[in-house]
Subunit: 359 residues, 2 copies
């Protein structure tokens, strides 16, 4: 299976360039945290858990850059200066990486975890090479944990699927959006493994077509039956009862269970509710932001209008017409049937259940 | 202003090729009813009222073809044979034209009106040339009536708009979809004329981008402020109260007020209802099918999956992935705030009010 991101022994982060999928599988190599931030911003890599992991490796690169720079600048080795340099660099990297995309909380979560690891290890380790190895191990741990968590999410979520179910998913919450396996798509993967009898309806997910391009690509590789639909069709399929259950990922879940996810998710949740179709959100605990009381406070990224006006690079609106491009929306908790985390499935009232499971 | 369709003195129907808008304004010329049917099917011309008018002219061409053919076949002029030929041809044309697209009732309505005119005139007129002129006049009348009706819809609908309103519309229900002026877009046009202070949010309308391509093009020409959004964004803008009122056209309204319209309309109506935003349907009476008790019986066209898999001609899904493409959906009457017709605005219960206004 193609890997979304790979940390090389040579200290290079290789990112699958998701902008060109499914037709080209090229990689972008990052040797600096700035390159990493740029790849997150331009969506070479996307998906809340995946950009968290990517940012963690970005922090490793930041530290390595500082140590390396200093090594060349001051070959006689002034430890005090290296220390100041590394800390300054990590602070700058943390800020740049967090700012790359504002909505997904995993980015901040992973960066803060790396900073925390640095602060702990700095007290214990005297040699820069060893400290770098500790940071590298922490990033790898974040990566590995995510895959394990995804597997657990899959096991828990698949129990909600009945053989024959027609499952809707939005955007891409698969291996490409995570360390591997996937959140919402991990549940679908597992349900397919267990039942051998599901059909996936894939929202194409305008403006960037992550469903049409990425989710279908993942499903094809495992020969899971699927059909792409326009985002416009999902409500109608619900109304026709041609759809049994919805699984989506998320970019941030507030303490009260409000869910920020790819634009269009709110509409799906309202429509599922209207048609008595279960609507589940599948997230690692790193996506749950217990510090945020409600979805009102989640920053919602607006992206370039060109994503709307130039689908696949071809202009569709006349010159002079403007576009508005919210990348995410927030679904109020009352439309969410359940939130599947690795610690268990939370139901309403989420303020209580999420705290209990993850607090 | 560019004309959607034009009947030439030489007996040629010129149709603006809407497939290439907004970047090319080319015309397709039709000299036979089969060409007309083909243009309707391939969406050279689209929009319920516009395809009704087009089909009416198609019936004129059908009659002219039959008379003409016979003129050449039997130059000595056997009126009985011409009569049989014309009737056979009109029956065939009626069937072909009606089958071109199944959902919009205006197509059948216009074709039946032409057949009815033929049957009446055949009794009264002995000369074929004169009978053709009668049919031509009837088609032109259907065309002219539609424009007048649109103006009336605009006047009635604009009264519902408050200065400063942010108005959402879906697909294209403008001059391009009608004989001129437009239904939903006619209301918006009129509201702009009256208030000079509206902002139009234009759903791009996947898969064929009629909003992005056509509605924005019409709005630009009259310098009406507007912004294109993805279909995915409409619900979120409603939730944020960045949108005040919705006007859409329709392809068929059943006697109980259920509304068939472009795919995605059902979702918008549910979302508007959820967010207490008025949702109006704007139609000429020719779109109201009082013979149909409810929307359950409206035939819903499925179009080629390629419209989904190849946006603007570029493939977006991997080889092997299928797509499903319902072109329309049906909105249950309870989500419709009002149905604006030229005879007045109907409110619930529509079974009573539509019958009273239009029966």
């Amino acid at each position: 299976m193609v890997k979304t991101l790979e940390w090389g022994l040579d200290g290079t982060l290789r990112l699958l360039d998701q902008r060109n999928l499914p037709f080209e599988t090229g990689y972008v190599e990052c040797q600096s945290y700035r390159q990493v931030a740029d790849c997150i911003k331009t969506m070479v890599v996307r998906g809340a858990p995946a950009i968290g992991i990517t940012a963690a490796y970005g922090m490793v690169l930041a530290a390595a850059e500082a140590v390396q720079d200093d090594f060349y600048d001051a070959p006689d080795g002034d430890t005090g200066s290296v220390c100041a340099r590394v800390e300054e660099q990590l602070a700058a990297a943390a800020e740049t990486l967090k700012a790359a995309r504002p909505t997904a909380v995993n980015l901040a979560w992973a960066v803060d975890r790396m900073l925390s690891k640095y602060r702990t290890k700095r007290q214990q380790v005297s040699e820069w090479g060893e400290l770098l190895r500790c940071l590298e191990e922490e990033a790898q741990l974040i990566h590995e944990e995510d895959v394990l968590v995804n597997r657990q999410l899959g096991i828990l979520g698949a129990e909600l699927v009945t053989p024959g179910d027609r499952i809707l998913t939005h955007c891409n919450a698969g291996a490409l959006a995570t360390g591997g396996y996937g959140t919402a798509l991990g549940v679908i993967r597992r349900a397919w493994e267990v039942t051998g009898d599901v059909h996936v309806l894939v929202d194409e997910t305008r403006p960037r077509f992550q469903g049409a391009r990425l989710t279908s690509w993942e499903l094809l590789q495992e020969e899971i039956p699927h059909t792409v639909i326009t985002d416009n069709s999902a409500g109608w399929l619900m109304r026709r009862q041609e759809l049994d259950i919805v699984f989506v990922g998320a970019d941030r879940v507030a303490a009260n269970g409000d869910v920020a996810n790819k634009i269009g998710t709110y509409s799906l949740a309202v429509l599922a509710h209207e048609n008595d179709i279960p609507f589940y959100v599948v997230v690692p605990s790193s996506t749950v932001d217990l510090a945020l009381p409600s979805g009102e406070e989640i920053p919602i990224e607006k992206r370039s209008p060109a994503e709307v006006t130039e689908p696949l690079g071809s202009r569709v609106v006349p010159e002079g017409t403007q576009a508005l491009n919210y990348a995410f929306d927030v679904t109020p908790n009352r439309f969410v049937t359940g939130i599947i985390t690795e610690a268990g499935i939370a139901h309403k009232p989420y303020t209580v259940t999420l705290q209990k499971l993850l607090g």
